[in-house]
Symmetry: C2
């Protein structure tokens, strides 16, 4: 009834939630029952009102004078993100980046399970990267359908990315974590989240070049 529509939570807020989770789990490990927005904010160098606003936008409330219950706050955030249930994903592209992501242990914390990897290189097919089996990319559609996989982690060379994306979408993929430098064309009901290395490097490069100008003045 008075549950907030999930759509009203802004992306900046969603991106901060994992930070909150980290602090909350530390608090849980330390045996804390309650935690205040002031404390979370101080740890992350944010404003306490921002933490409260973020939580409020998800429909989470605390107790005046007390704060928030650590355990229930963890549960609420994890549920909001869908991290309270395991999600299976495929890594598509078994190069170094694919191997790095296939073996990234941090994903366990988010309940993201990498089931297998796919590649076109016959030398890789049949082998394992970071403990995950590599299948031929020709089998990708079939596996997506059979296992009802919804998430693909795309680490292919850009040249092949759009073509394989089309195949994955056709097979039923609903979300693509795009590590390529290509902007993918997908239907409306497929969500693409891109790791944009160029954008990130631009920020870094710009800071560096500002600094060096300062010095030369």
């Amino acid at each position: 009834m008075d549950i907030k529509s999930p759509l009203s939570v802004s992306q900046p807020t969603v991106r901060r939630l994992p930070l909150y989770l980290r602090i909350l789990k530390q608090a849980e490990d330390a045996g804390k029952e309650n935690i205040s927005s002031t404390y979370i904010a101080k740890e992350l160098k944010l404003e306490s009102i921002q933490v409260r606003k973020d939580l409020a936008s998800m429909g989470i409330t605390g107790q005046p004078g007390i704060g928030f219950t650590v355990k229930s706050l963890i549960r609420a955030i994890e549920h909001f993100l869908g991290w309270d249930n395991p999600t299976d994903a495929f890594v598509v592209g078994a190069g170094n980046l694919g191997a790095a992501l296939a073996g990234y242990e941090g994903f366990g914390e988010y309940n993201l399970n990498i089931i297998a990897a796919f590649d076109i290189d016959p030398a890789k097919v049949g082998s394992e990267i970071s403990g995950k089996k590599v299948f031929h990319i020709a089998k990708l559609a079939e596996h997506i359908q059979r296992m009802h996989i919804k998430i693909a982690i795309l680490t292919l060379p850009s040249a092949a990315a759009q073509q394989i994306t089309n195949i994955m979408v056709e097979a039923g993929i609903k979300a693509i974590w795009n590590f390529t430098s290509l902007k993918l064309n997908v239907p409306e009901d497929v969500f693409v989240e891109r790791i944009d290395l160029a954008a990130s490097l631009a920020v870094l490069s710009n800071k560096i070049s500002i600094d060096s100008e300062k010095v030369s003045k």
Copy 2:
């Protein structure tokens, strides 16, 4: 005199510049002399006024009725980002992610040269990853100083990240591209740009869980 201070350019603007560059280089390859903000915007599904505002904030002006000169716009953006001169960088951590970044050919476009990699694993030291020599991490400070390296690409396990960061800062590193899940503590004059996989995954997961709720209603 009327040159804009580089500091006044907002981060959202800086992050869009590589997108503009891509369109501009396509136009250059196609032999175009001039290009309009309308055209750039249409290609990227943005508003033309946003493109003009972004360029204006860097002090770049066009010609009414004509648009912008492709070549000079490319030069201006690349100069603003410091991408018109080569920059050397070290990869710190020679795991799969380090190897992926050390061998990433896309960096050539940004004039970012990965000189070498560093790792603590004796089995890796002396070998090559993606064609770059791997040195022992004990040699990191010395190499940073000797080669005046300003940028480090950090792909270590989180546990070691802060300690090595301290060493690098001491040795003179000015910018860290942080691929670990740790928030690094650095002095004010060192800039850290983080690739936050958890934040990105949170956006993806949230979208997925919204969709599955829709279906179940």
